[in-house]
Symmetry: C2
Subunit: 198 residues, 2 copies
């Protein structure tokens, strides 16, 4: 019984992830999630509450999986950014889920903020030890590193989303990844040499 319930919940969450990534919260249909998962619609409400609560669980779970797959390595932020890129490249629906949250659940950030606080503290410690530049505040280091790692996916109509739809071409992705790693290395370098005006 407990095992059955566990399997049903997992199927429901899987179907909900797909539905929310495609349609967002307002556009998602509990009916479709029930059908796709082969579970009873009423069970969804019993297990997860309303649609917004289901979305929060789906996102929270995706975030936890991400944190497990991509450990935060403060001593190697370029590598961390590259690993985030790889994680997102393999899961195009994940960025959509995150984008829907920003648009439809802008207030629901408490849990996320908590996860970031530990990273910010680690960056501050690395700055004190001289491993990361002090020219940029810890919270901005994190924001900028994440922005660089995600740039390929969130560039609004940018070159990443080529008109011919070849954005996902393997070779171009690999070259963009290298650019991300280089950009983060430059961002966090303790001593940046600035070009002198000629």
């Amino acid at each position: 019984m407990a095992r059955d319930s566990h399997a049903t919940k997992a199927r429901l969450l899987e179907a909900a992830f797909t539905e929310f990534a495609e349609y967002g919260i307002a556009g998602a249909r509990i009916d479709r999630i029930a059908e796709a998962s082969g579970a009873n619609k009423r069970l969804i409400y019993v297990y997860f509450g309303n649609k917004e609560q289901l979305f929060d669980v789906v996102l929270q779970r995706a975030m936890e999986l991400g944190a497990e797959s991509v450990p935060f390595t403060v001593e190697d932020l370029p590598g961390y950014a590259g690993a985030i890129f790889d994680h997102l490249l393999a899961r195009p629906a994940l960025m959509r889920l995150v984008a829907w949250r920003q648009l439809e659940r802008p207030g629901a950030t408490a849990a996320v903020s908590e996860a970031y606080q530990g990273k910010i503290s680690a960056i501050a410690a690395a700055q004190r030890e001289g491993g990361i530049t002090r020219d940029v505040e810890p919270t901005d280091v994190l924001t900028l590193v994440l922005a660089l790692a995600q740039s390929w996916f969130s560039a609004p109509g940018g070159p990443a989303t080529d008109a011919d739809g070849s954005a996902w071409q393997h070779d171009r992705a690999a070259r963009h990844r290298a650019a991300v790693v280089e950009a983060v290395a430059r961002l966090v370098a303790p001593h940046a040499r600035r070009p002198r005006p000629s």
Copy 2:
């Protein structure tokens, strides 16, 4: 007559911008746009076609306004990034509009790609002249600069969107802006000094 029609169109586009930024394409209601602009609902279809076409016009117009307000200065990319940040900070609805496009109109990128091509060519020329590093391809330079400029607004649940909602605090915004400018300066510097392993 012509003047009346011009004013009506302007009011319609203004109302449509607000409606789309708030609800996206699927969630937007032509009824609400008509009511908010005081125009006849039928006129919207006459002037702009269907809802998707109206959205495209609204976004295109916002992009053109942005390009006019923030000229692309390839010789000063840090300043360009700072100016984009200022533009977005003054128009929080704009990032929402762009995010909806990515989610609901992912294919409609042709016009945008065209606008980017000129910038990419300018970056390539600056690289040949030695003003910008050649370690990063022109298309990636642009993607990364834009990502840095927008990081404050698109960081998914990041530190920019503080739990206490103070993200828009003026002082914090100014400090993040400085971080963006510094990050872009480091990214494009012709000769980055890498820390040597100790």
